[in-house]
């Protein structure tokens, strides 16, 4: 099984453990990730905040690169996914913008590129049954809150990921891995995005609120699928009002359950060290 793959900027820096665990997991599941050639940054939050057109043109170039292959495009980072989906939505629904973007990027949009999140690949292409057959070390007794944040589920008409107030697709993966997926009320609240750089205090407040609510729901850890969400929760939670919460990428929890080698390197990259928790559940 092959998919086109757009890693995004955080894959080699702030989200390195996502990248490491993701490649280990998909390799084991037999999904070949074909990186798109010479991809560029999607523009993140900065591009569209300064210029709507730039915020669409940058991801449109990646769409142009991706449609050179006849494969669905899989994207691990929620922010990249959202930017590429927004560009695709404009290409499909706004003929004037489509003309503009095609002119700027120098391509012809074919209109049939399928854009997927990495967990779509797990859920649709691999399937939960096959995933379960790979589970060697079920996450028994591990209570996990799935944190979706913004970019996976909103704008609903653009990303089309189903229920945007109470999504379940990450929870379904937790359950398939043998963990306990907890219900909680902050699944789709925003992590503060890039405000941490310019308004540190606001970002700490937001991270504390979200991790605090996770602990109130009696979670052992949170599970995310976005580089920025992970950094914001993992690094910015202050621990002033409550204990700190380990924050995993969903591929890391998959890696534990599938008992893949090399996990120690992933935990080294976490700010809130998850080893004590994992040791207490015999999952290290």
């Amino acid at each position: 099984m092959e998919v086109s793959f757009y890693p995004g900027c955080t894959a080699h820096s702030t989200g390195i453990e996502y990248s490491l665990s993701l490649h280990a997991v998909f390799d084991k599941l037999g999904v070949k990730l074909m990186e798109i050639d010479d991809w560029n940054c999607c523009g993140a939050a900065a591009a569209h905040s300064l210029s709507n057109l730039l915020g669409l043109a940058l991801p449109a170039r990646n769409i142009a690169r991706a449609q050179m292959r006849d494969l669905p495009l899989a994207i691990p980072c929620a922010g990249c996914f959202n930017a590429v989906k927004r560009a695709q939505y404009a290409l499909l629904n706004d003929p004037d913008m489509r003309k503009k973007l095609e002119g700027i990027v120098g391509f012809k949009y074919r209109g049939d590129l399928e854009i997927k999140l990495m967990h779509d690949v797990v859920l649709d292409q691999v399937g939960l049954d096959r995933l379960k057959s790979h589970v060697k070390k079920p996450l028994s007794g591990l209570k996990v809150v799935s944190y979706y944040g913004c970019a996976l589920v909103r704008d609903p008409k653009v990303v089309q990921m189903g229920d945007f107030e109470n999504p379940m697709f990450l929870d379904d993966i937790v359950t398939a891995l043998g963990g306990e997926a907890l219900d909680w009320s902050y699944k789709t609240d925003c992590c503060g995005a890039d405000l941490g750089m310019s308004h540190g205090k606001i970002a700490v407040g937001i991270a504390d609120k979200i991790t605090g609510m996770a602990l109130e729901a009696e979670a052992d850890c949170a599970m995310v699928s976005c580089g920025l969400c992970q950094i914001n929760l993992d690094m910015r939670q202050s621990g002033r009002n409550h204990a700190k919460l380990p924050v995993f990428y969903f591929t890391e929890l998959m890696g534990i359950a599938m008992d893949l080698p090399g996990r120690d390197e992933w935990w080294d990259k976490h700010v809130m060290n998850p080893r004590a928790l994992l040791e207490s559940r015999n999952l290290l």
Partner: protein, 186 residues
């Protein structure tokens, strides 16, 4: 207060959003994770656009504190996509030269991010962090996180430029309408 009656039309046309449809249900305000830090809440901004309070809106902190989480637009019963409105307000605020007045650091953070992409094609965090700190003299917010990430080996020192960087620069020339802003600063 001088009212600009063309403001609502301009915002409506540029954002593609039906500003008149708002009936102040406050769902956007209640759902907004940043509203407690905003001097004008999202619903108030809509009302101010309707009133033509151009200057107050374009010089507000609120439009730069919005991180485009899109909760407002997703919950709006009248399908006003407030994040699209916010994008339009930010563009106008830059074009009219008042973006730095309210939230200099946020604007410069975005500008430095985009400069990094123009330089390398992908984000290079180390030079981006340093450029932001030099330009804003804001050390307090980014420094602790920068050091933490560096200690974790998550900030590569050597940047890697993409092959098609000239394509990206051409794309900027055509798509980055407010590039005058960046160049004036250089």
């Amino acid at each position: 207060m001088k009212r600009d009656r063309s403001f609502i039309k301009e915002v409506r046309e540029r954002s593609g959003q039906n500003i008149e449809a708002c009936y102040q249900c406050l769902k956007c305000f209640v759902g907004c994770p940043l509203s407690s830090y905003m001097e004008f809440k999202p619903n108030a901004l809509i009302r101010m656009i309707q009133y033509g309070e151009r200057e107050k809106v374009l010089k507000s902190h609120a439009i730069w504190l919005c991180v485009s989480c899109m909760t407002c637009g997703a919950r709006c019963p009248n399908e006003v996509d407030m994040s699209a409105v916010m994008d339009t307000l930010r563009e106008l605020s830059i074009e009219e030269g008042c973006a730095y007045e309210a939230e200099r650091n946020v604007v410069q953070l975005h500008e430095e991010f985009m400069r990094s992409i123009k330089m390398w094609g992908r984000l290079h965090e180390a030079t981006f962090f340093v450029a932001y700190m030099i330009r804003t003299l804001d050390l307090f917010s980014p420094m602790p996180s920068g050091l933490t990430l560096m200690a974790k080996g998550k900030i590569p020192f050597i940047p890697k430029q993409m092959e098609g960087i000239e394509e990206i620069r051409k794309l900027y020339e055509k798509a980055y309408k407010t590039k005058g802003q960046l160049e004036r600063e250089e």
